[in-house]
């Protein structure tokens, strides 16, 4: 316990962080260790290169997009707080947590999870997934298995499926609607070790 507290104390504003993200102290410590391990040079922040050093991530077809999601536009670094907040998207929704009426929406809420996924597609941040953006993601994920034409028709069909206002792009609202029946909580949560 002593070591726990001492590690926690090293992190500034840890209380706020825990309240915002809902992580337990054990989680925070674990993540902090990981953060330090990734931050090989001990700068206190991470660069895209640090993420790139994760071998498995390099194999991930949309890995670069996911890394990109950690960095807010224009920034080249991510500090521990942001790091934890991003990861907090993937905490399973806790049911027994008392719902305070005026508390802000928790980071791991359904719509926040969806927003995270949405921004992976929407690289130009115009609030819409255009055909090209979709095509890029599909190409990355489907790889060599389909031809370019097939890919394009899949992209078209996907857009048409979700596109309600016929602007040939998927807005966030449309994105959410298209995934209305999907159990996002199951599909966008990972187990964090305590």
């Amino acid at each position: 316990m002593g070591s726990t507290n001492s590690t926690l104390l090293k992190i500034p504003n840890v209380e706020v962080l825990m309240r915002e993200t809902g992580f337990s102290p054990a989680h925070i410590i674990r993540l902090h260790d990981r953060f330090k391990a990734l931050d090989k040079e001990g700068r206190g922040y991470l660069c895209p290169q640090d993420f790139g050093a994760i071998k498995e991530l390099a194999m991930n077809p949309i890995g670069d997009r996911i890394i990109g999601a950690f960095f807010s536009p224009g920034k080249e670094t991510v500090d521990f707080h942001t790091f934890v907040k991003i990861l907090a998207h993937f905490r399973p929704v806790d049911k027994d947590r008392p719902k305070e009426p005026n508390s802000p929406e928790p980071i791991n809420s359904r719509s926040n999870k969806l927003k995270f996924a949405f921004q992976l597609y929407d690289q130009d941040k115009d609030g819409k997934i255009s055909r090209d953006e979709l095509l890029k993601v599909l190409r990355a994920m489907l790889g060599m298995q389909v031809t370019e034409e097939q890919l394009e028709s899949i992209a078209d069909r996907t857009i048409q499926e979700a596109d309600l206002d016929r602007d040939d792009a998927i807005s966030f609202e449309e994105f959410r609607k298209s995934l209305e029946k999907v159990n996002i909580d199951h599909k966008m949560s990972i187990r964090f070790l305590r």
Binding site: I54, N60, I66, E149
Partner: protein, 851 residues
């Protein structure tokens, strides 16, 4: 009314049944017809005694019999078939009225009908003649049910919840068996049941057989309730695996009972535990081995597609029997066989075979499920098994239910400690309540050895009561309970590309997050398994072409397109039916409009998808579709339609005006592996030539003073069959809508030929063309009549499938080119690939003749 009808059917059932009895009776002594009714009772007994009495057997032949009565030759199979028929008719009766099945689960109703049937038999025979024999149950009824259940198992869901399922199936079952047995024994010792000749080991044996949660009953009840998928897979997976475990436990305890109390020492107990694991895991392993065998076999069954599906059934059954032979768990073996091989055989086999397999299994499984329930009812009508012991029966019921609940709640609590999404209490309650006992328990009770267990009949009777209680009572209350507790229902998730695509994206995101967090979580394992599977397992078990095309996103895409196409056709047939062929212009336009309106938001690209459909309806195996660039190409068209709308419209107009039938798209094929499509540039050239020719004509005619009637050229073709002067006697026109004829033959013919073909059939010899409208057309056609052309058509019409295709969709090509102008994109580059090879060679010749 419905009830009356039902009643009539029940009467019919009874009639069917009594005929079976009567048939037997008649046979016993055909001379004593007047004694028929008294004989009926004994006749139904399929005893060998009656064989000796049989009329034809005993009498000496004095003359050559023309026909003889040979009941005993067919008795057993005949009775079996009759019973199967009777049981299935029972199901028919049950399903007649859905207001009943909405409240009452089908399984319960079947059991009750079984009571009635059993009562009839009893009334006729004054003894139980038919009952569920364990051997029949375990060897002929159960395997297909398990195979079907495992083959249709949602694979991913099953494996992602495998841990929880195994915990419930193994630990939960052991818990149930142990506690029920021990608690009953304790109560017996406490004097709750009077004097019975049952020792503690027998109680444990009884507990073991009572712990079998029956998949048949569970599927039957839960399928009607539609609970959420996780709950469903937990209950269902558990019931499936738990049968295997139960049988193993049963065998271990049975062995203990045979050994007798005193001989059991620590070593024997350890042996029992070891055998438990060896039997359970050995069985599962054997199943996996068979799954590998099946998958590898389906790689090479391409040439025997007709029986492809049969291989899976036979090999699955063999895995069951092999496990049984090695005294491993047969149920576990066939379960894992089905679960593991489904992915690979579905990819390897032809789509048709997959459908065949699926339906065959469903027929077999549902059929035997029905029989099992009916016979569970029939078996109850027996004086001998009803040894009443209130204490024993009630306590068993109580313990079975109570310990099930305790076990489920405890195990779920343990599991929830580490589950990502905990199982909530409502779900846990339903899980506990879903512990339906069924035929497996009965089967196990029925094979108890009366020498070793003197109170076998009491146990058998109690088992039946527990089965009835759980299946009927719990079955009935399940639905209201689920509604009342507001159990999360299964979301009716339609297959959408968005869903599929995002699923994939989510998987990648989660794995990435786990990588970033630096822990090896579930997603890590999933990914590594996927990697391993991709690299080695698929290489071993999948055909190479299937391997390339197994991407689920594309699969979803393909499936969606097929669905759309089907709706399109059904809609078209419903609305346009034949009217829109006869009344070509109006109807087709209407139809198009209506469809566009109705489907505007649902399936916007439906037209475009038609192209995909054509490949589907020809039942071209998916693999070959994918192999071929065509689908991609035709799919591509709808992208074109987005961009090139005006283009299409003009093209459409042009074609419409000039009788030109587009044939580049939507080319149904007649050979499995080969597609023929006409070249597109060709088409354009043709259009151009046509236009030029027409202009020339009109110019000429204007000069010569003949009525050009360009516009009319379109109609005569359509109307010609009706026109007296059209060509009623035209020998070439067998099809009322003759145009179809050459539309199809056009497939293989070179494009330019078709152009010629066209006019020719409109004014073939003999038909006096009075209509000036025909003139322009006619004038152009003479060159087309020449022999080279005709031989071509001959060849084409000789192709059998083309005829079939004509029958299939009378309006296919012609109308669709009108209905779906989008598809006739003038630029589908795609078609080039498919282009008819003959076309370029033939082109010059014909063209010359024409010009």
């Amino acid at each position: 009314m419905a009830f009356l009808r039902e009643f009539a059917l029940i009467l019919a059932l009874v009639a069917v049944f009594s005929t079976s009895c009567k048939a037997a009776a008649l046979e016993v002594d055909s001379f004593e017809v007047d004694n028929d009714f008294s004989l009926k009772s004994s006749a139904a007994e399929d005893t060998s005694a009656s064989t000796n009495d049989s009329g034809h057997g005993s009498s000496t032949i004095t003359t050559l019999p023309i026909v003889t009565w040979k009941w005993h030759h067919v008795e057993t199979p005949y009775l079996v078939a009759l019973w199967i028929l009777t049981c299935w008719l029972c199901k028919l009766v049950v399903e007649l009225n859905h207001s009943v099945t909405a409240v009452f689960p089908e399984s319960g109703l079947l059991i009750i009908l079984g009571f009635i049937l059993g009562g009839i038999v009893w009334g006729a025979d004054k003894a139980q003649t038919f009952r569920l024999i364990p051997t029949n149950f375990f060897y002929y009824l159960l395997p297909q049910i398990v195979l079907d259940a495992s083959y249709c198992m949602p694979n991913k869901l099953f494996f992602s919840n495998l841990g929880a399922i195994l915990v419930h199936a193994v630990i939960g079952t052991c818990w149930n068996a142990g506690t029920v047995g021990i608690a009953l024994w304790a109560c017996y010792e406490g004097g709750a049941m009077g004097t019975l000749n049952i020792g503690p080991l027998q109680f444990l044996l009884f507990g073991a057989l009572m712990s079998a949660v029956d998949p048949v009953a569970v599927i039957a009840v839960f399928e009607e309730v539609h609970v959420n998928e996780v709950l469903y897979i937990l209950v269902f997976g558990e019931s499936l695996l738990n049968d295997g475990v139960t049988v193993v436990l049963y065998n271990v305890f049975d062995a203990f009972v045979s050994l007798g109390g005193p001989k059991i020492n620590a070593a024997e107990i350890i042996k029992g535990i070891v055998s438990f694991f060896v039997v359970a895991f050995g069985g599962s392993f054997l199943g996996v081995v068979f799954a590998v065998l099946i998958s590898m076999l389906t790689r090479i069954t391409k040439n025997v597609q007709v029986i492809e599906a049969g291989f899976i059934i036979v090999l699955g059954y063999l895995s069951y029997l092999t496990a049984e032979m090695l005294s491993l768990s047969a149920i576990l073996s066939i379960t894992f066989c089905g679960v593991c091989c489904q992915k690979y055989i579905n990819a390897n086999m032809d789509e048709k075979s997959v459908t065949t397999l699926r339906y065959t299994l469903k027929v077999m499984a549902n059929g035997s499920e029905t029989m099992i329930f009916v016979f569970l009812g029939v078996s109850a009508i027996d004086k001998n098994i009803w040894v009443w012991n209130t204490g024993f029966i009630l306590l068993t019921l109580l313990f079975v239910v109570v310990f099930r609940f305790i076990g489920v709640f405890f195990l779920n609590w343990v599991l929830n400690q580490s589950r990502l999404i905990p199982i909530d209490y409502v779900d846990q309650f339903v899980m506990g309540y879903g512990g339906l006992r069924g035929a497996v328990a009965y089967g196990l009770a029925a094979i108890l050895d009366e020498k070793k267990i003197p109170e076998k009949n009491l146990m058998l009777g109690t088992t039946l009561i527990v089965v009835y209680f759980t299946v009927i009572l719990q079955g009935i209350t399940m639905k209201p309970l689920v509604q009342w507790l507001k159990v999360k229902k299964a979301t009716q998730s339609d297959l959408t590309l968005n869903g599929k695509m995002n699923n994939r994206a989510f998987e990648h995101i989660l794995t990435a997050m786990e990588d970033i967090c630096g822990r090896m979580g579930d997603n890590w394992w999933t990914r590594h398994w996927n990697y391993f599977e991709d690299k080695y397992v698929c290489w071993l078990l999948m055909k190479s072409d299937a391997r390339k095309n197994k991407d689920p996103i594309f699969g979803a895409f393909h499936k969606l397109n097929l669905e759309d196409a089907k709706t399109y056709v059904t809609e078209g047939e419903r609305k346009g039916s034949l009217a829109f062929i006869r009344n070509y212009d109006n109807a087709s336009v209407d139809f198009k409009k209506k469809l566009a309106l109705e489907y505007a938001d649902i399936m916007p690209d439906i037209m475009a998808d038609m192209s995909e459909y054509d490949f589907g309806i020809d039942n071209v195996p998916v693999t070959s579709v994918m192999k071929n660039p065509i689908p991609s190409v035709s799919l591509d068209i709808h992208e074109q339609d987005r961009k090139g709308m005006p283009d299409h419209l003009t093209a459409h107009h042009l074609l419409d005006q000039h009788l030109y039938k587009s044939r580049s798209n939507n080319r149904p094929t007649y050979s499995r592996s080969h597609y023929n499509t006409t070249e597109n540039p060709d088409e354009m050239q043709e259009i151009f030539q046509r236009t030029m020719r027409n202009r020339l004509e009109s110019f000429k005619s204007a000069k010569m003073g003949v009525n050009p009637a360009k516009k009319l050229s379109k109609h005569p073709k359509k109307d010609s069959p009706h026109k007296p002067n059209g060509k009623p006697g035209d020998p070439h026109r067998t099809h009322p809508y003759g145009d179809e004829d050459f539309e199809f033959s056009a497939d293989s013919a070179s494009s330019s030929e078709i152009a010629g073909h066209f006019p020719r059939s409109t004014n073939t010899p003999g038909s006096g063309v009075d209509n000036p409208a025909f003139v322009p057309e006619m004038d152009t056609s003479p060159p087309m009549r020449n022999p080279p052309w005709q031989t071509e058509t001959g060849n084409n019409t000789a192709v059998a499938p083309s005829q079939r295709a004509q029958d299939r969709l009378p309006w296919t090509p012609t109308n669709q080119s009108h209905l779906a102008p989008l598809r006739m994109s003038t630029h589908s580059t795609d078609t080039v690939v498919m282009a008819d090879e003959e076309a370029p060679e033939e082109k010059p010749g014909t063209r010359h003749t024409r010009l």
